[in-house]
């Protein structure tokens, strides 16, 4: 949507209204995952999510989390960079979680085979 703004497909007010609806849910979901990792003792996952959690909390505390229609053009490069970094981070995390999940399933099934449980 940010590149749409640059190419003049969308105006700043619509952009801001569209994007702002997703800001809080994204942060809430991420915080939920972080808390789950914390409680489940998955220390490595928690540590890699820690910087982003801190960053989000910092933004909410300073009320900077929403996009501002009047300033969006000035801060456009910064927002684009931030979003790219988050996308890259989420992608890497996704693959890591996938890998962990498969490993867990594989380990579970080999454990089951070894202990001979009935599946």
């Amino acid at each position: 949507m940010l590149t749409d703004l640059e190419c003049d497909y969308i105006n700043p007010i619509d952009l801001v209204n569209g994007l702002n609806t997703y800001v809080m849910p994204e942060m809430a979901a991420h915080l939920l995952m972080f808390v789950v990792f914390l409680l489940m003792g998955e220390w490595f996952s928690m540590i890699i999510n820690l910087p982003l959690a801190v960053w989000n909390i910092n933004k909410v505390v300073n009320s900077r989390q929403f996009y501002d229609a009047t300033e969006v053009f000035r801060t456009l490069p910064k927002h684009k960079r931030e979003n790219f970094v988050k996308v890259a981070f989420y992608l890497l995390c996704f693959f890591y979680y996938l890998y962990s999940m498969i490993m867990t399933l594989v380990n579970e099934s080999t454990d089951d085979i070894r202990t001979g449980s009935a599946y």
Partner: protein, 875 residues
Amino acid sequence: VGSPPQMGASSRRRLYPEQIASAYAGQQAPQGAAEAPTYPGAPSAAPAFFVPGAGSAPATSPSTLMQGQPMQGQPMQGQPIQGQPMQGQPMYGQGQGQGQVEGLTQQFGQMGMAEFQTVVLNGRPDLAALDEAPPAMRLAPGTMCVAASECAPRFQRSTLNAVPRTDKLLKKTRLPLGLLVTPVCADDDVAVAPDIVRCRRCRTYINPFVAFTDGGRRWRCNMCGLSNDVPLTFDYDSATQTQKDRWARADLRNAVVEFVAPLEYMVRPPMPPAYVFLIDVSYASAQLGAPGVVAQTIRDTLDQLPDADGRTRVAIIGVDAQLHFFQMRTGAEPQQLVVGDVDDVVLPAPSDLLVNLSDARSSLDIVLERFGAMFSNNHGVGNALGPAIRAAQQMLGGIGGRIVAIMASPPTTGEGLVEPRAEGRDLGTPRESELLRAQGTWYKNVAADCSRAQIAFDTVFVGQQAMDVATVGGLARYTGGTLLHYPAFMAGRPEAVRFSSEFGRHLAGAAGLEAVLRVRASKGLRMSAYYGHFFLRSLDLLALPSVDPGRCYAVDLEIDETLPPVVYFQTALLHTTALGERRIRVVTQAVPTTDNAHSVFHHADQSAIAALLAKKAVDRALSARLEDAREALQHKTLEILGAFKTLCTQASSGAATQLQAPRALRLLPLLTLATLKHPALRGGNNVRVADRIAAMSLVLTLPPETLLQPLLVPRVYALHELEPNVGLDDGSGSVVMPQLLPLSAEVLAPRGVFLVYSGADAILWVGRDVDPSMIASLVGEPHVQSGVFTFPDLSDNGSPRPGFELNMRTNNLLRALSSLCHGMWAPPMFVCREDGDQQVRLLLAQRLVEDMDTAAPSYSQFLNQMRDKINRGSF
């Protein structure tokens, strides 16, 4: 272009005429500035403007200096004058193998001709320079242009009249490249062109600088170089059914032209003007007497509101803790409807709240007449501005218009409530910058929504109460409106008269509605930032729900690739006029480019640079911190002078005993100092936040002519020793102005009377030993007290009464000064006795920019600091 053509058509002086400078300043020689030409062999006579083509050798035939230049199009008879260099004139290298011309330029630069002269900065600044025209632009030979196609500087000014060709050169000179465009000036007279011709690729409007090819059947766009077809009806005047001379078309003759926009340029029929007045009637406002004064002013201005086709609509809403609507049915008594539930505002009546001005005029008059009396004893406390805005939005619904909010207390009820922030201890500390930012986003969101609905806000703040101007003022800032501030307002005092005249003038001056502005530049230039009051709708489109005359928009430019010999800037403003017509105002300007750092420095426009830097500093202060902004401004001036020293003077490295500057930039340190001392950016702890925000809004929106002098750099005149012809008509309708004095307390002699005029106010300084008879001849009484003063007019209808000549001349002077600012302000006058009131003396001290005060150094100290820093190389 700097020479008369060889065909004997009207001569074309590219240099802006001397008459402008002399009519204002009334003097030729600068006063006191040391103008020491620093190169050997420099002419010892006083430098005169080098006027090309006047009294020099006769024009040479085109062939001598233009070998290898392809001639574009047929030689048309009469008008198109291709720029022809005179022999021996400095020209810019054109990249066509004219190396010997570059050499000539260097030689002439070294010879210290007036145009390329370097001055030493010491002593007093040369204040007359502020009235000078911008430096001459030498367009490269072969540039197409037409007589009268120079763009008047009041419409559009570039900071550099010789743009560097590469980004590298621009960065080396450290000069800011930008454009200051004032699309609509007060009392301008712009030619109207019949039909619209635009380039196919870049959508540039046809302008005087295009070249016609292929026998006049095609035209080449000067911005992108594309060859377009000339439409078949181009030479045909459909009104009189005759062939006409192509070059008589308004859009090919004038740099500033207006087109009538056809249907493709409208998304809906042109809107009628509509005004909703939200007048604060709470207890605080009633104490000041504001409802009465405001209602009276509106009533007096109703005749001047644009109403050419009878469609103008007006509504009045009184705002305290409740909303007071007025239903004005034609032929019936107006009724007041009070809405107490402000949490979910619903309009109390389906119609007749926003009434047609001409139909319901009598009802409106009745309402406005009784308005003051109705609310003069109002004890309601609280201000429901947010709900009032929502109501006004509902009223203006699909039309758009102007919401004028007059406030005397902070919004404390309903949505949009703001807690005014205590500022006492934070002034002067880094926390002050927090106070300048808006609290919360409600007002910004409202502004964004309103700009979409073509609603503009004007916010007027009266009184001393803390109203959080920073937050509510955002309404005006992001919808292209105006912010007015009258802290000393009180009914019955002169300040109320001032409010009436300025507010009335503002209402009557609405120039354009539902407008968008776009700036286009040649290939290789990019617009990077915009400054002013507007909403940025897209990367390069400014949405202006309302366009006020005399408001300026500044653009920062960046160079992406190497530029061609001439670059063009075109500003297009699509707007609906007050008469209900959709028009496009197009301002086109051609600026030459150069490879030579000397040319860049000597053709820099100091007024435009100072105005742009001031706007950037204010923008920085609003988004970052005040200290950063001041620091950056000072640093920038240092960089510019340091770069000049390194690149263009002989002492390019190592210390120099004197600070040198190009003649074109000789006032830059003074302008920087004046900006640093202006209430908008001033350090110290005695500028209240509301005053600061109002001052910042002025700096952001005013064009260089009105901003620099008189607002930043006031004018000082000695009234006790006026020359005999000063103050009188000089035969051509303009008033002869007295000599400008330096802005320092040194000039205030105890036996004299001085006028310090800064546009927004005027101070009459009366010395302690003044002859009482002189004061009597000036104001009618032999003694005056310090404080606010109304300058009397003791002449009978312009002819002097015996004994009061000084009064008449001073009144003429004041009128002339006021017209320089296009009548924007009705400045209150203060009398400051040398031994009188402390507060007024403090006010005067703030205006004397060259003196030292708590916030910043004096002018000479400032120069010394800069010289030392540049010598040390530490900048």
